[in-house]
């Protein structure tokens, strides 16, 4: 071990405080240079008159509570906190962003740094509780490999040679272009003037959508934008949009008597993770039955009442069969379906449904899913009889070719059983609403400065049916193809697209190609496998250092707002992306500057809240405190202090039943065909189109939706989003029906001879069976590879967190021991090394594109009966090489190994070398399954099919 205390050299000793000769010479030479340069570093401030060592500052009040500054919580607000070693510790309410759940947090700042994170007890969602990931948020801020300064490439793209730039110079480079590594790049100002659509903004979990849309679309005029939704839930959102209108559903599990979970690991990784998890446990304690259909015994499955292993991609078959049961069986002498809801709020009749679903018997579903018919019947009956009940679905359920159809079917089952928009059932999302200061003030008062955004058509894949949330994993292929144009400036924001989607090798090949991407700017907190391909990297402020208004889906069942505010100022030159937008707009000047009048992100966020408060006053509404009392004080001050602003005082159910006032419908149009009340003017639809095309046929008519006529009464209904559906709960979907031909073209070659009925069913526009094509060609020695998340990691943005990596840093492949012995030999044992090889079936719609070059990975085997025998399960999270020391397991300074007490405990000390090839297993960092998952989108939704890959396994000799 290295001795950390250097041995002082023998020096000539002089009188204390006086310079000895040798020191004087050394210092004199350096001083001469320093005085000459004239720009010496001064970072510290020396208080005049100070000097002698002083006593430490007082710890605050006698109880250890410091006096709070404005906007800071006090002991009574947060249940107590302590100073450490006499240091002042202040509490700042904010919002977590380790995962998408956005829990309310309290960040404790001590001596200028963040010392601890706890849950905010005032937040209605998480009620003071947070998970391990949230508490490890400190690691994001203090990651020693974090990007603190802009970096510009000085070598070839991807070569890893950089130099630091000041933030000013870096922003100039983005705005005005210039020379990078000997080549010229075009800046935003030039693009703004010549072809704004060639500025592409591609974001990961940004949570600043208003500001980014204002900058890029409204002000700059580019709609060329990519997101990351199809990695997670594009198919789910489409299934929701065609039925209930909005894209996000909330399962009110706290009040459910029966919870059916399909492919959703909600105790570990749900989009509402910590707060749906605590409510599920409360429901279980209150006697609810919870059944989990999953290919894997996740911690969720283990904690629920019953785990039903299911073959990947066949959940749809089980749900169709359960719907059949609910429609037809009456075990207690009464229907299990809700005829009132069906007749009033859907666009079908019970008879129509019975006829369509008759084919989907439990016995048929058994042949597809492998689940015994009796189990399907029993659970279907239990679900139908236990009201209220709810069906929870997520990525394990929708990350398939048939994901959108499955979600459509799940929503239908909830609706048929009378479990929709009811207490304890499945509800349309409630989220808080805030005015957006850019939209409300700036754009409206400066309309002439705004632009109608143009875009390159590269985000929606190639010949997909309804990619309402795009197909992000296919964007690089679209850019390589070039038929729809290429971006001149590609800016990523906290998006590691080359590694978080499939075909990683192909992604990097495209992203590093300067012909495809002339100028790549990455804005991120830390280096990534994608940022390696950038020309310029800007350091982003972490979520604990920046501003936003959050409106997470409310599992409290009423709307509220949350603040995200800096717990501490950004380190280094890191900058809030919203401030970067302001800085860039000011550089571009003209209308861009006019449309960005706020000096900082904080000013913009404050203006938004103050506008909402003013709007409340105008409408005779109010914010409420966390104790559900009308807010009597300044909204901004309360928001900063407590972190939340409530917009209702209690749960809201039956939201669609809200009757509209006469003033709501005055001057609006009722569409004859659908009964939709709408405002064509708001939707920018001409009178002629209103007459000739009507609501459903007019472009983006849904943006003018007001309500729905039902039996002569105007209701709020199920408000549409993204498509022109009615305000009914549409079980029959013309939108899904319209994609039937494309689906049939894909799957017809994979159907059995006796499955001619599949085409007919699809054409009926009701939820129908669609098999995953590749799975039909699977042989008995092939497995289906699925991926999953664990409770201490986020998909791809937590591996720089030391505390989390210490807990979970490699990811053995789960295989059932019976399967392992059959395919790999009777002597296969836990921990043996295996090769997982993708066996790509030729799919008719692939047309030779998206064929990954990396065809296999290696992994350690984990033998467990907690996985379906036809499955190999490999988690996400692992296998990074460019994401800092913790994610990559690479020592930055070998001479420091074992240096500090903490360093000795780091997992990689035992085995020093990280893998050289990230496709191969590493004990330190595992391996990522994305290398061999094809990016081919699901045809209907554009979903990344993370759970469809057919593979073979073999031993590594």
């Amino acid at each position: 071990m290295t001795n950390k205390t250097n041995s002082p050299q023998q020096v000539e000793q002089g009188e204390p405080g006086k310079l000895d000769r040798r020191t004087a010479v050394k210092a004199g030479v350096l001083a001469a240079i320093g005085l000459g340069t004239g720009a010496l570093f001064r970072g510290l401030t020396s208080v005049a008159g100070a000097g002698e060592p002083a006593a430490p500052p007082a710890a605050g009040k006698a109880d250890g509570t410091p006096d709070p500054a404005v906007g800071e919580l006090v002991r009574a607000d947060v249940g107590g906190y302590r100073g450490k070693d006499g240091a002042e510790r202040v509490a700042v309410a904010s919002t977590c962003m380790q995962c998408i759940a956005a829990c309310g947090i309290i960040g404790y700042r001590e001596n200028g740094h963040i010392a601890k994170i706890e849950g905010n007890p005032h937040c209605p969602n998480n009620r003071g509780m947070v998970c391990a990931k949230s508490q490890a948020g400190l690691n994001q801020v203090y990651d020693p490999d974090r990007l603190l300064h802009p970096l510009v490439r000085v070598g070839k793209r991807g070569e890893g040679k950089w130099k630091r730039l000041s933030m000013d110079k870096a922003l100039d480079l983005v705005a005005f272009g210039g020379t990078i590594a000997g080549g010229e790049v075009e800046g935003l100002k030039s693009i703004y003037e010549s072809g704004p659509e060639t500025f592409m903004f591609h974001y990961g979990r940004s949570r600043i959508k208003n500001a980014q849309n204002h900058f890029q679309k409204t002000a700059f005029g580019s709609g060329t934008q990519g997101n990351h939704t199809s990695i997670c839930e594009t198919a789910k959102w489409l299934g929701n949009e065609v039925t209930m209108g909005k894209h996000y559903d909330v399962n009110d599990v706290a009040h459910s008597k029966y919870v059916l979970i399909f492919g959703a690991n909600i105790l570990e990784a749900h989009t509402g993770h910590s707060y749906i998890a605590q409510r599920l446990i409360e429901a279980k304690a209150a006697g609810a039955k919870i059944v989990t259909f999953d290919v894997r015994l996740s911690n969720t499955a283990a904690k629920t009442s019953e785990w039903v292993p299911i073959l990947p991609g066949t959940d749809l078959a089980v749900i169709l069969a359960m719907t059949n049961i609910v429609l037809n069986e009456q075990p207690y002498g009464r229907p299990l379906y809700d005829e009132t809801f069906i007749n009033k709020w859907t666009n079908v009749t019970v008879d129509q449904l019975r006829k369509h679903y008759a084919r989907y018997t439990p016995e048929w579903a058994e042949t597809e899913s492998g689940i015994p018919a009796e189990t399907i019947r029993r659970i279907g009956l239990e679900y139908g009889a236990s009201k209220p009940a709810t069906i929870v679905t997520y990525r394990g359920f929708v990350g398939h070719y048939n994901g959108a159809q499955a979600e459509w079917a799940a929503k239908t089952l909830d609706a048929v059983a009378g479990n929709f928009n009811v207490k304890g059932g499945t509800n349309v999302k409630f989220g808080g609403k805030s005015k957006d200061a850019y939209n409300d003030i700036v754009a409206k008062e400066n309309k002439s400065a705004t632009r109608k955004a143009k875009k390159l058509k590269i985000a929606d894949g190639d010949n997909l049916h309804l990619p309402t949330h795009h197909s992000c994993q296919w964007i690089y292929e679209m850019i390589a193809d070039g038929s729809h144009g290429r971006p001149n400036l590609y800016m990523t924001y906290v998006y590691n697209g080359a590694y978080t989607t499939g075909d990683c090798e192909r992604n990097r090949e495209i992203l590093c190609n300067q012909e495809y991407f002339p100028f790549v700017v990455a804005v991120d907190v830390a280096m990534s496998e994608s940022a390696e391909c950038a020309d310029l990297i800007l350091p982003d402020a972490t979520y604990l250092e920046r501003w936003a208004i959050e409106s997470a889906a409310s599992f409290a069942m009423f709307p509220f707002l949350q603040i995200r505010q800096p717990v501490a100022p950004p380190l280094g030159e890191a900058m809030d992306m919203q401030d970067i937008f302001i800085q860039l707009a000011q550089r571009i000047g003209g209308d861009m500057a006019v449309l960005h009048p706020y000096g900082t992100a904080e000013e913009y966020i404050q203006a938004s809240i103050e506008l909402q408060a003013a709007d409340n006053a105008k409408r005779n509404k109010t914010f409420y405190t966390s104790e559900t009392k009308p807010l009597q004080t300044d909204a901004w001050a309360y928001f900063k202090k407590y972190g939340v602003l409530l917009q209702a005082t209690g749960p809201i159910y039956h939201a669609q039943e809200k009757k509209l006032k006469d003033t709501d419908v005055a001057g609006k149009v009722v569409d004859d065909k659908t009964g939709v009340i709408w405002d064509p003017h708001k939707a920018h639809v001409s009178d002629e189109d209103v007459q000739t095309k009507g609501y459903t046929g007019s472009k983006k008519a849904y943006t003018g939706y007001v309500g729905q006529m039902v039996d002569g009464v105007a209701y709020k209904g199920f408000k549409p989003d993204k498509i022109n559906k009615s305000g009914l709960f549409e079980i029959h979907s013309e939108f899904m029906k319209a994609g039937a031909d494309k689906v049939m073209a894909d799957i017809k070659g994979f159907l059995n001879p006796d499955e001619g009925w599949v085409a007919q069913h699809l054409a009926e526009g009701l939820p129908s069976w669609v098999p995953v094509p590749e799975h039909r060609k699977r042989t008995t020695d092939q497995l289906i590879m699925i991926s999953f998340k664990v409770n201490v990691q986020i998909h791809s943005r937590s591996q720089n967190c030391k505390w989390l990596q210490e807990i979970y840093h490699n990811n053995p492949a789960w295989i059932n021991p019976v399967t392992a012995r059959r395919l790999l030999g009777a002597d296969i044992k836990e921990g043996d090394l295996i090769r997982v090889r993708v066996d790509m079936v030729e799919l008719p719609w692939r047309k030779g594109k998206g064929v990954t070059q990396a065809r296999d990975i290696t992994a350690r085997i984990h033998l467990t009966e907690g996985v379906h025998p036809d499955v190999i399960a490999v988690s996400y999270h692992c296998g990074h090489w460019a994401y800092g020391r913790y994610a990559s397991g690479r020592q930055v300074a070998t001479e420091l190994s074992g240096a500090g007490a903490d360093a000795e405990q780091i997992w990689w000390q035992q085995r020093r070398a990280a893998a050289k090839d990230p496709k191969q297993w590493s004990e330190i960092t595992g391996v990522h399954p994305n290398w061999i998952i094809p990016n081919i989108p699901a045809r209907v939704s554009g979903q990344f099919r993370s759970n469809d890959t057919v593979v073979s396994v073999s031993r590594v000799s």
Binding site: K4, T5, N6, P8, Q9, V11, L19, T23, A24, V25, K26, A27, G28, V29, L30, A31, A32, I33, G34, T37, A39, L40, F41, G43, L44, S46, A50, G51, P53, P57, N111, G112, H113, V141, Y142, D143, P144, D145, L148, H149, L151, W162, K163, R164, A526, M527, P569, L571, K802, G884, R890, V892, A893, E895, L896, G898, A899, G900, A901, D902
Partner: protein, 178 residues
Amino acid sequence: MVATALRLLASIFQREADRPLLEYIKAHRQELLTSFGLDPLEGLDGYDLDEAVDALAAEYCRIFVGPVGHLPPVESVVLGEGRFWGPSTETVVNFYVTRGISLPEGSGLLPDHLSVELDCLAILEERGHHQDAKAFAGEHPLRWLTDLIAHVKARATSAFYPAFIEAAQGLLTARYGG
């Protein structure tokens, strides 16, 4: 004189060298060689000044900034605490606080960055608080400079940063060691 010297070293490690700095170093090259036995411009003779500035910017990044294989010149990281703002940072901050020295909030600087610690020593020198400076140097920069030097030497492709990090250690040892 010592304070100015410390601030020069702080400037060198705070960010990459600029043209004026290189010009002055060039002018004092022989004196540096005589005083420290170090030639920071060794290996840069083939470059003109602008090229040297560019080369040193890449070198600074490679050694201290990253994004890969670097080691920030920050006490908590070099001491193996595995993070910015580790326990040693808190000790440093407490020292500043008790001496009426502060890091302006929002400056983005880390209190235990080598530059800031050298700046602290400069302030103490200006105050004439030699014993205080000696205590701080012994408990902080002199505890970790050797390891930083090893890293700098391992990563450097020119003599510039190894020379100045050794000069820093030489000056601090001469002034505060023993």
